[in-house]
Amino acid sequence: MAKLTLPAAELMYSGHAACPGCGAALSMRLLLKGLGPRTILSIPACCWTVIATPYPTTALGVGVLDNPIEATGASVSGLRAAADALGFKDLNIVGFAGDGGTADIGIQALSGMLERRTNAIMVMYDNEGYMNTGIQRSGATPLGAWTTTTPVSSTVHGKTEAKKDIMAIVLAHNPVYAATLNPAFPEDFVKKVEKARDLPGPRFFHIFAPCPPGWKFSSEVTIKLGRLATDSGVFPLYEVENGVYRITRKSGTLKPVEEYVRAQGRFRHFTPTDIESLQDQVRSSWEHLLRLEAESHPKAEELVSKPVARAVAAPTS
């Protein structure tokens, strides 16, 4: 087995209040390994408000500022402004929000922060729903998923709308760096954090954060599920630096999505047709991503073999 190269220092301590197998907790641990102690986190109302433990304790070895759920983008702008005004150097300013606090109620402040070119990192840890309030649908909940507000009945099969494409929204603002991260791939995760840490300007991480109670799976399969998500193409790993796409994990052919779907209770009602439809959508998104990589990266374009390039150029279903 290959030796892990992750930084040894821990800035997230035991005694935190996360559920067993929480993807958001793993994400914080890896994020802080990559960022180091000169980091200030701005955290809106989300699972991490609670995970970090109540006053007067904290599970984090960095400075944390709480902020209301919709204002994280503005908060990091304020922290950076103060750091610049007061002469604090080498300080990582990071907004760490859930998918609701980023893609739904927080999207205005996020857009503002990106447009202002705030020198800070915005993180969306995506557990695909309002999990801290008890599993309600968010704009990031995938199509067809059961949540308490998208119930499954004889006429309705869970969420009736598609997942909001936060990366496309963020990339439309031309950040200096944006990437998808998955704690099931810790080295890729930390490498991206370390790379982004030293780039000045607005940066964004979309983190895949499996939620055992929300997605209805057993807590010991978080990592397995994470690996399935990426290897099936449901959550591809890539980075975009100044508009240039680079897929950071390509494992030959994509695994079928069925195994990923069947591992989670929130998709229990999925029929073979539902799975087929998801498979088509995932394949189409993956091909779109390959095309973006090829088109944005001259080197990548040269490397792509002709048959693949032709397949990519063909219209997808």
Binding site: L65, A74, G78, A83, L86, F88, A109
Partner: protein, 393 residues
């Protein structure tokens, strides 16, 4: 000391300049906008070496100030009406995090219908958010109060955010001569912020956090203590400010010709100036009327109101807002204060100047006449009475 001729809005900007703020953040809204335009000029020209964060909403403007303040910066923002209402959630965050932010607010009516005239509904509606609230009568008072507000807000016993409010157009867009204190005097009066209880880079800590009932009550109690410290601290701050400027604006509540008065009217903001001239006129006619100017609405100066009540038999309160209660908002506070007073004058309430309607000397005189003739039992909509009086010749 330099004399400049500026609007109330520019008086805000010059005060923020003199206070050497570290971070400004704002979003445009009429009639506040010229304040933050002027600050943009100061920053662009290098006069004010501050970070100026131009945000996409008032909600974000205040969040920027809250977060910058949490890292120890001295911050300033300004808004009005709908913008202030949008900030409501953040107002609680600012006081709860003990962030000594100063915000200029132009008092403007609340929609619908859209109206940009002077009206206190926007700021009165924020009375329960933990902010200190000043109502200015003149542009000079605006500038002086902003500078004093920083000292007050940053005092270790207080550490609360402060709104310095001015009436739309009567102050925001009306120019007056204003004496600017010298920078070196301001620097002596207002040294750099003593940033306690803030995030320190590299040190694990959490500002905000969450608690159950075990600690939440203590946090609220601390806010109550801070609020109670405002009026005694303000007195000290005003004295020190008086030493550098030789100006004193009379504390939270000041009186004018109330000795032996049969009727006294209590006003906030620019109505005070009109009422003062009416007092002079009526006094010249031998009518015994006086005036009380309420400058600080939060925390409410209950003791000073009781002291005033001891000398007065008939007290009228002018509310430049309608807030749906059984009485006007200011009148309610006065009535509550009077409950503990040994001597309780007859109390009357008047709604006047709503939505920017002019409060004329004639209207003020009619309020005094109503008081002198026993006073009405119900709140009176003076603006409408004036209109009806005009309609009937």
């Amino acid at each position: 000391m330099a004399r400049i001729v500026v609007s109330g809005n520019y008086a805000q900007s010059y005060a923020a300049l003199l206070a050497r703020v570290d971070v400004v953040s704002a979003y445009p809204i009429t009639p506040q906008t010229s304040t933050v335009e002027k600050l943009a000029d100061f920053v662009a020209s290098g006069k004010l070496p501050a970070q100026y964060i131009k945000v996409e909403s008032e909600h974000s403007a205040l969040q920027v100030c809250v977060s910058a303040s949490a890292l120890g910066a001295r911050t300033y923002t300004a808004t009005s009406s709908q913008g202030l209402l949008l900030m409501h959630e953040l107002l609680h965050w600012a006081s709860g995090l003990r962030a000594p932010i100063i915000m200029g607010v132009v008092n403007r009516a609340v929609a619908p219908p859209w109206n940009i005239g002077a009206d206190h509904t926007d700021t009165i509606a924020q009375r329960d958010t933990g902010w200190v609230q000043f109502y200015a009568e003149s542009n000079q008072e605006v500038l002086d109060t902003v500078l004093m507000a920083y000292r007050l807000a940053e005092d270790p016993a207080v550490r609360l955010p402060v709104m310095v409010t001015e009436d739309a157009f009567y102050l925001s867009h009306t120019v007056e001569p204003v004496d600017m204190p010298d920078q070196q005097d301001v620097d002596r009066f207002l040294p750099p912020r003593d940033a306690r209880a803030v995030l320190i880079p590299g040190v694990p800590s959490r500002v905000g956090s969450f608690t159950g009932p075990d600690h939440y009550v203590e946090f609220r109690r601390e806010l109550a203590r801070a609020t109670a410290a405002v009026i005694p601290t303000l007195q000290r701050v005003e004295e020190e400010y008086g030493e550098i400027t030789h100006r004193y604006h009379g504390g939270p509540l000041s009186t004018y010709r109330v000795e032996d008065a049969d009727a006294v009217l209590l006003t906030m903001g620019t109505d005070t100036t009109t009422a003062r001239s009416v007092v002079d006129e009526m006094r010249a006619e031998g009518r015994k009327v006086g005036l009380a100017k309420l400058r600080l609405f939060r925390p409410f100066p209950t003791e000073l109101v009781c002291r005033l009540a001891a000398e007065v038999d008939r007290l009228g309160v002018v509310d430049r807002s309608y807030t749906f209660g059984p009485q006007g908002a200011v009148e309610t506070e006065v009535a509550a204060s009077l409950y503990t007073a040994r001597h309780r004058p007859a109390l009357s309430g008047f709604f006047a100047g709503i939505g920017g309607r002019d409060v004329t000397p004639g209207e003020v005189r009619r309020m005094y006449e109503a008081l002198l003739h026993g006073g009405p039992s119900e709140n009176r909509w003076i603006d409408l009475e004036e209109q009806e009086a005009r309609a009937h010749g």
